[in-house]
Symmetry: C2
Subunit: 607 residues, 2 copies
């Protein structure tokens, strides 16, 4: 079992590529240059490796215990959260007035990758806590902010997101949990499932942000409100009061992230849980989306993180495991480390190339969040925000879907040892599998991409991003570097395929929604592949500039270009096939009737 080593050098490169230099010039981020980045990332890497990493395999084997409504976290988690909070990691992107450090999202995202790579089960707590803080910051009353945010930032308390109900699943229109007004508060009652860190013993209070419906609320998503339901009521002076009427009925036995408690929570079994409205009644969906969009981006980063961890594990094994003589060597030639075998090399390259593409793309989105937040010009802010909104479902959907293949590939590098739990590779394959599901399945991301991002603004944000891609193609065309020309030759048709497919979906949606959405997930994948190729092309151009300027780190920058070329030659050629299957094959998705699916299992040939 290897200790987690953060890909610091690559992260610093990706920060450069994402324009940390420009963010440093924005008001409020004056301190956030490369010097600070290097210091913060170095500290985070040490913390991730020394404090969080030891929880990972241990927590997998020693899951939380449920006992009479209490959830006992595995030994070490409480102490790690205390140290995490004390070191200021919760507050990294939070405003200074609430105890935060006010650093840009682009740095926060890099650090987030480390927490999740070191121990995804641990990192889920802070991830949801961050979403809860964000929702309170943007939608809470001054009093709510004063009472709750500092303690959530200090790590004394922890926030949750409480959305799902058994009969509703992803369909929030079906939320039934009741909220009955009573003076300055509401009485909440109902059952919620799949609540991550819904109950535990690592913080003294848990602040549930819960979706519920008031008696007069309209049906559907327009009748949902968001409430604060603290596990322990909070007195006006911030001290803890009585236990609220919320209890944990059970925790789930899951495929992965064993150490993260997934709770069934019952609200209001006795007198009704006391809850405080956030914002106005019936505006809960909008507030929820504040948490949700950040959480979706963060889950995308989880997909990257777990993939990187799995890759790292596989790379270490490939450099150490001796097996088989090189291909075509003489009889009785000595066996070599398996990194020297072409297919192992291919697997490593295929992981490395996608990791770098995802990291670059993820940080480009985080950087856009900073621009959307801090730019002086309103149009610049709006354009940055449109890019964030367009890319959020792609980061969430594509990174997490790729994580299944990358963790699987990493397991495969280990051969038979990969299937033995003790090796550790299997845990990543299990853990990652939740990421394309929670915070909205890939289909929900893909529907969001088509419905809210492509169609709603008539393709404006899509066209703007494709235009940015084309300027990179022009830069590649101007280069005399052979590898960059190869990248250009692969990127150009891939961008065209993305553009044509977007137009086809837009046109089809006018008359035939089911067909327009039938290949929403392949369309999202197409976006991921092409956007990743765009970022890799940018990386190659940046590496070329560094090489032109100096000989320092030539091997690193040459590797960047070679990896970008690998990506261009092995992933971008998929774009044409995916585009064809969408444009020509969407009808065949819907060709069978419900009943026809059952015929294969008819017992006999009817006479």
């Amino acid at each position: 079992m290897s200790t987690y080593q953060a890909p610091l050098r690559d992260m610093l490169f990706a920060l450069d590529l994402a324009g940390l230099g420009e963010i440093e010039r924005l008001p409020g981020f004056e301190d956030a240059g490369f010097e600070i980045a290097e210091a913060v990332l170095g500290e985070a890497a040490t913390f991730a490796g020394e404090v969080l990493d030891p929880l990972n395999a241990f927590g997998d084997k020693t899951p939380p215990r449920w006992e009479d409504g209490a959830v006992h976290m595995p030994p070490g988690f409480k102490e790690a959260y205390r140290r995490f909070a004390q070191a200021g990691w919760i507050g990294l992107p939070m405003p200074a007035e609430y105890g935060g450090q006010g650093l840009p999202q682009v740095l926060s995202a890099a650090v987030l990758e480390m927490w999740n790579a070191a121990s995804m089960s641990f990192a889920l707590g802070p991830l949801l806590n961050q979403g809860a803080i964000e929702a309170l910051l943007l939608c809470g009353t001054p009093e709510q902010k004063r009472l709750f945010i500092p303690n959530l930032v200090s790590g004394k308390w922890m926030g949750t997101m409480v959305l799902t109900e058994s009969q509703a699943g992803s369909d929030l229109a079906q939320v039934r949990t009741k909220a009955v007004p009573e003076g300055d508060h509401y009485r909440i009652s109902g059952q919620k499932i799949f609540i991550t860190y819904g109950e535990h013993d690592i913080a003294e209070n848990i602040v549930h942000l819960i979706l519920a419906r008031t008696p007069t609320a309209p049906a559907g998503v327009k009748g949902i409100s968001l409430f604060i339901v603290p596990k322990f009521l909070v007195n006006p002076d911030g001290t803890l009061g009585a236990r609220n009427d919320v209890s944990c009925a059970s925790i789930e036995h899951k495929l992965g992230i064993h150490a993260s408690p997934t709770c069934v929570l019952n609200y209001g079994e006795k007198t009704g849980a006391i809850g405080y409205l956030i914002g106005e009644e019936n505006t809960g969906l909008a507030s929820m989306f504040i948490m949700m969009n950040l959480a979706r981006f963060s889950v995308g980063i989880q997909g990257l993180a777990i993939s990187d961890r799995a890759y790292q594990h596989a790379l270490a094994y490939a450099r150490e495991r001796v097996q088989s003589a090189p291909l075509g060597s003489k009889r009785d030639a000595a066996p070599v480390t398996i990194i020297h075998h072409p297919d192992v090399r291919r697997m490593l390259m295929s992981m490395k190339a996608r990791l770098e593409a995802m990291r670059a793309l993820g940080l480009s989105v985080a950087a856009a969040m900073d621009h959307a937040h801090a730019e002086a010009d309103e149009t610049v802010r709006a354009n940055a925000e449109a890019y964030v909104e367009l890319m959020t479902p792609i980061v969430k959907g594509w990174f997490t879907e790729e994580s299944i293949d990358i963790t699987s590939t990493a397991l495969q590098v280990h051969g038979g040892m990969g299937f033995i739990e003790e090796t550790g590779a299997a845990q990543y394959y299990r853990d990652c599998r939740i990421t394309p599901i929670y915070e909205g399945t890939t289909a929900i991301q893909a529907n969001d991409l088509i419905g809210r991002k492509l169609l709603r603004d008539m393709g404006k944000a899509v066209a703007a991003t494709i235009a940015r891609m084309k300027t990179v193609v022009a830069e590649l065309e101007a280069s005399e570097h052979a590898d960059l020309r190869v990248i250009q030759a692969n990127l150009t048709p891939a961008i065209a395929a993305l553009g044509d497919t977007s137009i086809w979906i837009g046109t089809t949606a006018v008359a035939d929604l089911p067909t327009a959405f039938a290949c929403s997930v392949p369309y999202l994948k197409l976006w991921g592949i092409v956007a990743g190729g765009w970022q890799m092309a940018r990386a190659a151009l940046l590496a070329e500039r560094h090489l032109a300027e100096s000989d320092a780190e030539a091997a690193f920058y040459h590797a960047k270009i070679a990896t970008a070329r690998f990506y261009a030659e092995h992933f971008l050629p998929q774009a044409g096939g995916i585009a064809a299957s969408i444009v020509k094959g969407s009808h065949s998705v819907l060709a069978l009737t419900d009943e026809q699916f059952a015929l294969d299992r008819e017992r006999f040939i009817p006479v």
Copy 2:
């Protein structure tokens, strides 16, 4: 948790497609027509559903226990194996003189799918037992056959394949287990790992077929011999003698197939285990490949089986789970079963189409085994054998790699419930993950495909199969059915891509082996996709003929054509991209040095 229902109707269709009617005309298979097939498959489906299915989830949660060298199987396994044997299932494809039924492989393969879909952990025992019987049938002395085969066919004893050693892994050249001659037997000593069903309590004796090296053996694979090492020695009258010197040191804790005991076996810790040579000294590799090739084909069928089981689970859930109103419906429209949502439909189609392609391809290979065995004409036999040899790595490699994606897709259909172990979908995702590893990883299959199948006969078997594909294209061209023309339009370029890539690899191998093998796995995948498309095209043609003849089962045959079209529009377009990545991108696989892989994790930017 749903009970396994065998896809009987589809299997009968696939048997028709694989030419059961022609096999029935071969000597020895006169009884094996559709009537028998329907009876055998019906019986097997009942047995799989009633006897094996209950072991599946139970065995996952209740793995075998190791205790002082003994392995206690989960309750129910011993009784199920007794019933399995008594019903004659072990002997299905075995010669009558040893207690078998002598039925063709094409039927045996269909039945094999059922055992593995119902309980893969159970089915692994019989799978390896069959390989051991096959090796004894082809390489054993008359006395060895008399002593061992009837008891292996009756289920009284069980056979194993004992190959792997820790330092050697897939590299059998490094096998170190010793075999020292002593009179009419040998004394075997050494440690073997990853031995499936290497120790258990469900048969009274275990017959290990083990690879070892005699003192005078040459180094490498040319110095390996195959031995019979029974757990209990066997007296000349067939009764059991003393316990042999073989012991189980431990069993593994694995990601999946929990109920299948994976053993570390120590041979000869005391006096040396008594072993009997099979065939000549130093010819063990050839005998081993008899077991191995059959086992590789069978593991491919496992990949199909577990995929079908997962699909079935997902389909049942999709037809039952109500969630969300249909796309584009009015506000407050009622939620519907999720099979009505386009992306769920897409996931189901993508599974169904590949399952049918794999089943058709697998049975075409099994049918070729029967032709290779029983045809009168030597050339016809040789051609059939060449097809079996070419397709074995493709069945093993492609089916099992697809099983990862199919079981993952099936899990995804369940949303959050898929991640909860109780739902059952996660077990398939875990269980299937061993199939691209054991009996030779996908890379080993792909190297076999290029080295022994493409290059060794200068592309003859490849060209012959591609020629058969082209005759199907000609039939499609002659059809006036719009769907068949679409299939043709997609199949034609895919076959061309396969042909061109094969020629490129053949040419490149002359001067540059590492580059020729750099994309061996994508080449295997390309083969799988195109061969699957070929079989689906044949299925569509057969369905069209049935529809022209009669109205019976029109919905079933229309579904066949629609599913074939879906396959053609969604999988065949991938061929061009894969071919391009192989032909143009193989160099970039090997572009980095070993050291360059490590640079991403350098801690700081050097000044």
